[in-house]
Symmetry: C2
Subunit: 203 residues, 2 copies
DNA sequence: CTTTGCATTAACCAAATGGTTAAATCAAAT
DNA sequence: ATTTGATTTAACCATTTGGTTAATGCAAAG
């Protein structure tokens, strides 16, 4: 079950699956080895410790979540409305590809905030977010949109995009939605979330 | 350090703190015992197993989160706008009292969705949520608000109220907010989130 | 064919962990 | 004072878990 592909990659793939599913504390090295179809000792041969392996998986996940946030300011030329519509749609679509990443990242950061602090500066999306906020302030001054706190705008967008995934089982339980219905709701949100934000921003 | 108060309560208090902080997999019985200032064996004397103790803590936390959601439909006489303003304010205030509960509950449900299914029916807030949804549909038909999916309305409110807490360290890291600034942002949201929702609902 | 160096495995280890037990302590009733 | 029942403790146990090691497999270079 393990011969074909590169062993290192096999391990990372397996580690991703197990860590994201169970978290650092809940993940077992044996389970990762089983998932990869190899011996447990191989994990330590290629990646020294559970911690090291976890850091690789976590940092990639964090980059994926925050990196996506960076998309918030691309397409600098478009009017803010188009920018927001495009952002929401692509962000929801992006998160939907790996719906369990947000809760994994959020939870691990919650237990060890230092995981974030280390990587903050080096993450690409960061400066884009700042320039987006400046855009919002400028547009507000020009009267194109209502004057709002860019931080709150940012929080509102991210909340409505990510939370339904982070709380997916809770949402499905409370609202009695099967997977098909849940996906329909998500699909509808790609437009709807932007509608909500833009209605609020109307001057 | 343990004599004064009821031992059972001391244990529950300690278990709450440790479980909410580290999750089921990350919590150690010894840590709970230390936190309560008692012997580890006492945990098993009063509550048979880690699982049993966890269930008590988790169910109370779940009730607190979902129970609050039930507030969504109280004050049945008020107009929908007042209802929503009151709901958002009290919900954010409620979550702010125990900001780490959402991520705890969400994360544990994520790893064991059965935890939710068991308790769903018996949770009080549930029927209130349903009746709130009917109210929304009625108000939409009467033209008091725009006709929107009550599920989406519900998701939007809950997302904007809960997510900032669930992702608190991530939010603080990305937006460079210290605790004081974070609390100010939250305070501002008690009104702002309702503004966003009501702007969207305007017919 | 032999050597060399990486890859892989099985067996093993020490520490941690959830749980148990038998003895001791304590408070109230007799 | 003694008995009785619940409470508390220290020592112990079996299993799990992250990690190590020594031996083996194996493919390419000599």
């Amino acid at each position: 079950m393990a011969q074909d592909r590169n062993t290192e990659e096999l391990i990372i793939e397996a580690a991703k699956k197990i860590f994201v599913q169970r978290g650092l504390a809940g993940a077992r090295m044996q389970d990762i080895a089983d998932e990869a179809g190899i011996n447990k000792a191989m994990l330590h041969y290629y990646y020294r410790s559970k911690e090291k392996l976890f850091e690789i998986v976590f940092n990639e996940a964090l980059g994926r979540i925050i990196g996506r946030l960076g998309q918030i300011a691309i397409d600098g030329e478009l009017p803010l409305e188009q920018k927001i519509r495009g952002l929401v749609e692509s962000y929801i679509a992006g998160v939907a590809e790996t719906p369990y990443l947000p809760i994994f990242v959020i939870n691990e950061i919650n237990q060890r905030p230092d995981l974030l602090v280390q990587r903050m500066q080096s993450l690409s999306g960061f400066s884009n977010i700042m320039s987006f906020m400046k855009d919002v302030i400028e547009a507000g001054k020009r009267g194109e949109i209502k004057q709002v706190s860019p931080i709150q705008l940012f929080l509102n967008i991210v909340s409505m995009c990510i939370f339904p995934f982070a709380a997916k089982p809770l949402v499905q339980g409370v609202l009695q939605l099967d997977n098909v219905q849940f996906n329909l709701v998500i699909e509808e949100r790609k437009k709807l979330v932007a509608d909500v934000i833009l209605a609020w921003l109307k001057p």
